[in-house]
């Protein structure tokens, strides 16, 4: 498909978010929302579930120049359904001019998308609702102080999975694969994105807009406050997540998967983990070799599978520990 986004030179200059939002400095979710909105244009209504970005709107302020509807934690996709259906039937009945139509966008964090709102999003996708869904995934319940969510990866410390002697690794379960859950509904368009990879993101939104039906985006959202890194490193962390293979950038058109950014050589996951306090317990006071290796192995396995099915060649990283013993 022909794209108008080849480099940052084509980055859209229209601005749909004013400054002055009360999100943390360096919020990854804000970067994604701002760019996402630029790609969609201004005629948008964003339907939101409880999460950090709910507090974009604190009466009487809003940074948005578009419309917004806060619904509830569990049912933003249903809220989108109501608005989409209402606009459709009102236009069909001649009660609303076509020019008044809005693109309907669901915006939630991972708590809503992976956990409490999973039923609602499943329903909306299955019904073929014509909408965009943008998940800003910071891998925990950030708005309430960083508790474990269904998106929390193995080894992450959260306030409800604190690393202790009894539980040295922090969270011992695995991150839920929302991409695959959603893909099983066979939506026309589904992609992962990352704030560091802007051109990739713009192209995907552009591709998605050619489809009618659910257009789903899961964005990594590095979170300086919850993950424990300096706010200036948000983009750096996002880039590392992609380069280490922790956050694969991919899309699925009617279920057919294609990876859009394939690292030639995977950087060791340690480079990504080390920069975040949520993984600090894996390195100090004693290095938890097993846990770190487990994370690396899972990443290697993933990319081996991708190599086999898509034919990319990905070289797995040299195990640093092995290197040291050589």
């Amino acid at each position: 498909m022909e794209t108008r986004f080849k480099t940052l030179r084509e980055f859209p200059l229209d601005e749909y978010l004013s400054p002055g939002a009360t999100m943390c400095a360096g919020c990854g979710g804000m970067i994604v929302l701002r760019i996402f909105h630029k790609a969609l244009g201004g005629n948008v209504v964003i339907v939101n579930a409880a999460g950090c970005l709910t507090l974009l709107q604190v009466y009487p302020y809003t940074p948005l120049k578009s419309s917004w509807m806060y619904t509830a934690f569990a049912s933003a996709p249903a809220g989108a359904q109501g608005i989409r259906d209402a606009l459709d039937i009102l236009m069909e009945k001649g009660k609303l001019p076509q020019g008044e139509d809005l693109k309907v966008v669901v915006l939630t964090g991972d708590g809503a998308a992976y956990d409490i709102g999973l039923q609602s999003s499943s329903g909306a996708i299955e019904r073929g609702l014509d909408f965009y869904y943008l998940v800003y995934d910071n891998e925990a319940y950030g708005n309430t102080g960083f508790q474990r969510s269904g998106a929390t990866p193995f080894g992450s410390s959260t306030t409800t999975t604190p690393p202790t002697n009894l539980n040295p690794a922090g969270y011992s379960g695995m991150k839920k694969d929302l991409f695959e859950i959603w893909r099983s509904h066979n939506p026309p368009y589904l992609a992962t994105i990352a704030p560091s990879h802007v051109v990739d993101m713009l192209r995907k939104i552009e591709t998605a807009s050619g489809f009618r039906g659910p257009k789903l985006f899961i964005s990594l959202s590095p979170c300086p406050t919850g993950w424990g890194f300096d706010p200036s490193e948000t983009i750096k962390l996002s880039r590392l997540a992609v380069e280490c293979g922790v956050w694969p950038l991919k899309e699925a058109v009617y279920g057919k998967v294609r990876h859009t950014v394939v690292p030639k050589v995977l950087k060791p996951v340690e480079e990504y983990l080390r920069r975040q306090n949520r993984y600090a317990h894996l390195f100090t006071p004693t290095r938890q070799e097993e846990a770190i290796n487990f994370i690396q192995e899972k990443v290697n396995e993933y990319w081996l599978k991708v190599s086999a099915t898509e034919g990319h060649e990905v070289i797995k990283p040299i195990n640093l520990a092995e290197k040291q013993t050589e």
Partner: protein, 409 residues
Amino acid sequence: MRDVEMMTGNTAAAWAARLADVDYIPAYPITPQTEIIETLAKWINEGVMKAKLVQLESEHSMLTAAGTASLAGARVFTSTSSQGLLYGFEMLYNIAGWRAPMVLVNVSRAVAAPITLEPDHNDVLSARDSGFMQFHAERCQDVLDLVLMAYRVSEDRRVMLPSIVNMDGFYLSFTREPVGLLDKEEVAEFLPPYSHPQAFKARRHVVKGPAVIGGHLYTFFKHNIHESITRAAQVFDEAAEKFQSITGRKLEAVEGFLLDDAEYVLVITNSFTTTAKRAVVKLREKGVPAGLAKVVMLRPFPAKIIVEKLKNRKAVAVFDQNISQGFGGIIYSETAAALYHVKNRPETLLSVVGGLGGKFTTLEEFEYVFSLLANPDKVGAGKPLFLFRKDELRDVERAMKLAGVEGEM
């Protein structure tokens, strides 16, 4: 279609939605409400009704979609029962707070556990603090009339709040009786088209449901809902007057039955009112000055009217088909509060709890309640009286024995 047709309460609700030319019906099945959405789905698919019906994945989602669609400018109808209302409960407060003037029909069904199918009013009364108006039906005709009334009152720019129209499961939902319809012109005369002053549209963007941090802002908006819903009583009266001029049918917030010279009065809601009326007639035949006050509008609570209807009576009983555990009847407490400042209030105010889980309340039981009013000394003041018959208790004991539960009651 005849002007008057045999129909169930559920069909009457569906007809009301059809007559109101609703745009959008988010739906989810639950007994005993399901027939409403089935009827509407059939009409829409046959092309006799132009609306969009979408089956959601839960009542929580259903109510969310109902609220947001209403804010996008669609006239919205939906219905549920019991567990469904409770599953979507969070959204009731939201919809009222959003000022989305949709109409919800609740087909009353007692709330689990134990799970059951037949009605009482704990489901609908749980919503009484939410900001929804509540109109309760005695007959299938009321269902149709009150839904149309609800749209007019809800959408009034002085109100802009949602409504619940309640009917009892089984006793109305599956019971057929003649129901009079309105023709298109009559509906048009009664119910102006719906528009929302700040609906979602491209020309003017709007943020709805923003967070409000600070109790003073929150209180201000909550007070505004209270003020608006209180104002709705007046709007209801205006609408009822118009409705009567068109259909000849009189709707009242509180309807009196043989009340004018009554000394002993029963306060009641919903479908058991019919049987209670029969008891009043029977007592009148015996020369007992009995009367009845049926509360149709539960929210806004018509305290003033209730006071007018109950002052100077000898004794009043409030029949509650609900139980506030640890207290007693809900409508009893509201009635008592309304009467507190009245000098010539009735000396006896008896709380009667009956009909839980649809437990049949017989004519004789209502007569018994009136007999207690005539002999108030027999009544424990302030203590709810549970109507329960001996034959029913025997049946319970038999069932417990079969269930393997030892011991005598």
